[in-house]
Structures are given as structure tokens and as C-alpha cells.
Symmetry: C2
Subunit: 246 residues, 2 copies
């Protein structure tokens, strides 16, 4: 999936207390390809300087953020409003995990804006605010310490969303997988070398080579790997030839 | 899987510059069930107070952290050392994604300690340090802004590890799924009510009820849902009976 669909997602922070969390949220959003940030009635209790400091290279998201008086205003144009909650309660039992819900939200985002709504650092979203959400997310956390930092919660949701697009391309090994023929040739060269340097005698060679084979079969995957180990064996034989009295 | 296996994982921060990242790392570890923190030659450039402030209720992890001079010392007792890297390079191409590697690391942790190693905020891990790692992780990030905050990187790794244990139990709906019989009865009551209040006439009722059915079939899942909607229809009929001249 093309990751431009992520532009149809809005992160909405409600009643945020610490400017650092707003800055860290901007960076987390940029890391995962989201751009649209809305604040609802922020209630910053520090001097506000942490926002820009922690946004680092995502200050454009910070500068382009929009501020609303109410959650209703912030999500007015969204066709799906998704709340996040750590608390349990009568109307919070239908929560879903990020890994489960994000692929569904990506489909919905094809036809309209989707808001991901995060509550206050100390109290989360109120029941009134939860009622404005069509869907609810709960992030899996260990029962010993369930309270997750606001920007960390934003990150996990955005990360699962980005992963769900499938647009991340892991780096590929440039070296091709080694063929059986090459690996077999490598083992022959090692066998000759190990016999030459006296690591094993001919009558034990089959047995010893099984141990070497076990190690190499786990570790050797590519043409480059084969080339390195062949080089070791050949150089060792050469050195041996140079320094051994005939 | 029992999540006590997570105690066999150590988070190792190498050459950390900001105390806030150490504090946030402690909280992220506690959120995901990890306890063992090691610092290698920290190089804190602030007054250090952010560590405790951002650890919040995970100060025990901060207090029990161990400090080492070298990475070698910090991972000496670990049977698997896993580095994290954002950079590419000759010996970094075999990186794996957290979602892929964590289930494998959980298996390894059954027989020995596993270290998750995170580099400096500005430069990551050096090539020498990468050489000490058996495995490498790269976190999927958007190509527009690849540099992820240190404690955010720790969080994603610990989160995927915790998810991989499968020990998180999502909340269950206490109300049972509604049976077809109950849903059918509910639709009958709604049909009667909608005819009574004049929402539709008998000759259009089958058609209109298909629209209602479509909505309700998406939304009604549990016994509680059926009970609520039956209540709405019955109350409406009752009210209608009370206020309509016979």
C-alpha cells in the first residue's frame, strides 16, 4: 500500500499538560509518516520550550498544528474517530489492540479522515469524550505498570499504522544466496586445509567435518559468506606452504 | 507464554547523552515487563534530573541499573547480543524487523540472557560495537524522517517483545454474543413499533426493515446490545400508547 494514505490520519491530543509530549508526538508522527496534528484545549503547565526541542526535525508538524476548543470541533470532518484508553469501564470493554485495528483503519481512511485521539497525561479521555469515538484502542502493557507516556502511546499507534501499510522495505542483502555447489566446494577446501594444518587426521576427518558443517550451515548464507570462508582456508594453506619446511 | 521470561532480557544503553532518555527508557521497560537496565559509559550532558522525573513509577529500574565501562563488560554473561541500528553499511545489511526477531529472541532467552543494545542519540553504535552483536534490529520508519528518539526505539523493541510473549489478555465483553433468535425477536419488536409510530406503512415495511436490519446487523453483537435496542422500541411503544388518544 502507498503510504500517502497516512495523510488521511489526524493525531488529536486532548488537554495535554506537558509541552515535551507535544514535541515528542511530532517527532513520532514524522518517524511514521503522519503529518496532521490537532490539539484540543491544551493546558500546558511548563514554559512550553520542550515542544520545539523534542520535535527536533519535525518542527513543521508543530508549526502546522491546529488548536481547537473542543474534541467535537477537532474531529468534525473525520468519518472515523478512534479513542485510546487504558482504563476499563462499561463503555470501554470493546477496545482493540493496535495490531488488530490498524489494518481496518487503513481501509476506512481510503474514504475519509480518521482521527486518533489521545487524552490527558493524568486522566486520559473523559466518558463524554469516549462517547464521541466510534472505536477504541488499548495498547498492550504489562499489568505491573500500565500507565504509558503520552508520546509513547502515540508512537506505538503510529508505528503499527505505518507497519500495516506494508510500505516499509527492509534492506536486502546485495550478495545472492550461495548455491549448494559453492558451499560444497567451500567444505572441500576447508577439509583439505584442516588436514594440512593437522587439525584432524584422515581417519577422523568425516566426523570432524560434520561439526564444522553444522556451524557453517547455520552461518553461511550468501556468496559473500562463502567467499570469506574460502579465502580464510586458502590463505591458511598458502601461509602453511610458505612457512613449512619441505 | 509466561512473561517472566522477560527478566532474561537486558536493555543496554551505550554512551547516552540525555538523562531524560534514561528515565523514559525505565518507564518504557516497566510498561512492557522488563527490569534489567545497563548503561555503558554514559556521557550525560544535562543536570541529570530528567532521569528520575521521566522514569515516574519506574524509579526502581533506575536505581537498580548497573553502569559499565565497556559494552564487552555489560554483555559478558549474555548468550545473545542484539544491536539496534538505523544506518546502513557493509555489516549492517542483515538487520531484522522487531516483529520478526522478537519471537526468535524469546526462544533463545529460555537458555540464556539476551541483551538489547541501543547506541548514542547522535551516532548510534560504532562499527566495533556492532561487531560484538550476534543479531541486528532495524525499526521500520518512514524514509522522510528516519531518526527515532532513543527511548522511543527502546519502547518499540520492548513492546514487540511483550506482544510476542502472548501474555497480554485483552478485556473480554462480559455480555454473551446475541443469538439469532434474540436478534430476530428484536427486529419484530422494532417492526411493530415503527409501524405504530408511523415511520413506515405496512406495504413498505419489508423494504424499510432491510435498511434497519443493515444498520443493526453491523452494530448489534451482544445480549446487552439486544437488550438496549429492545428497550428503546418497547418504551417508544409504551409512550405512544400513553399519549395517543384512543
Amino acid at each position: 500500500m502507498d503510504d500517502s494514505i497516512l495523510h488521511n490520519f489526524r493525531v488529536v491530543l486532548v488537554g495535554t499538560l506537558y509541552s515535551g509530549n507535544i514535541g515528542s508526538t511530532c517527532r513520532a508522527m514524522a518517524n511514521m509518516g503522519l503529518r496532521d496534528l490537532a490539539l484540543v484545549a491544551p493546558h500546558i503547565c511548563d514554559d512550553g520550550t520542550d515542544a520545539e526541542r523534542l520535535a527536533v526535525h519535525a518542527t513543521d508538524i508543530l508549526q502546522n498544528k491546529r488548536v481547537f476548543d473542543t474534541l467535537e470541533d477537532a474531529v468534525a470532518d473525520c468519518s472515523c474517530v478512534v479513542g485510546t484508553t487504558a482504563r476499563m469501564g462499561l463503555y470501554r470493554a470493546h477496545v482493540q489492540e493496535p495490531k488488530v485495528i490498524m489494518p481496518e483503519l487503513l481501509k476506512l481512511a481510503a474514504n475519509g479522515k480518521v482521527a486518533l485521539v489521545f487524552g490527558r497525561e493524568d486522566k486520559g479521555l473523559s466518558n463524554d469524550e469516549i462517547l464521541q469515538c466510534n472505536r477504541l484502542i488499548r495498547i498492550p502493557v504489562h499489568p505491573d505498570y500500565k500507565s504509558i507516556n503520552l508520546s509513547q502511546a502515540v508512537l506505538i499507534c503510529c508505528y503499527e499504522l505505518y507497519c500495516a501499510t506494508g510500505s516499509y522495505e527492509p534492506p536486502v542483502e546485495k550478495s545472492l544466496p550461495a548455491t549448494a555447489e559453492k558451499k560444497h566446494r567451500m567444505m572441500q577446501i576447508w577439509r583439505e586445509m584442516l588436514l594440512r594444518v593437522g587439525f584432524m587426521k584422515e581417519d577422523k576427518a568425516d566426523h570432524m567435518m560434520q561439526g564444522i558443517q553444522r556451524i557453517f550451515s547455520r552461518g553461511v548464507q550468501s556468496d559473500d559468506d562463502v567467499a570469506i570462508l574460502m579465502g580464510v582456508a586458502r590463505q591458511t594453506e598458502w601461509y602453511h606452504g610458505q612457512h613449512t619446511k619441505q
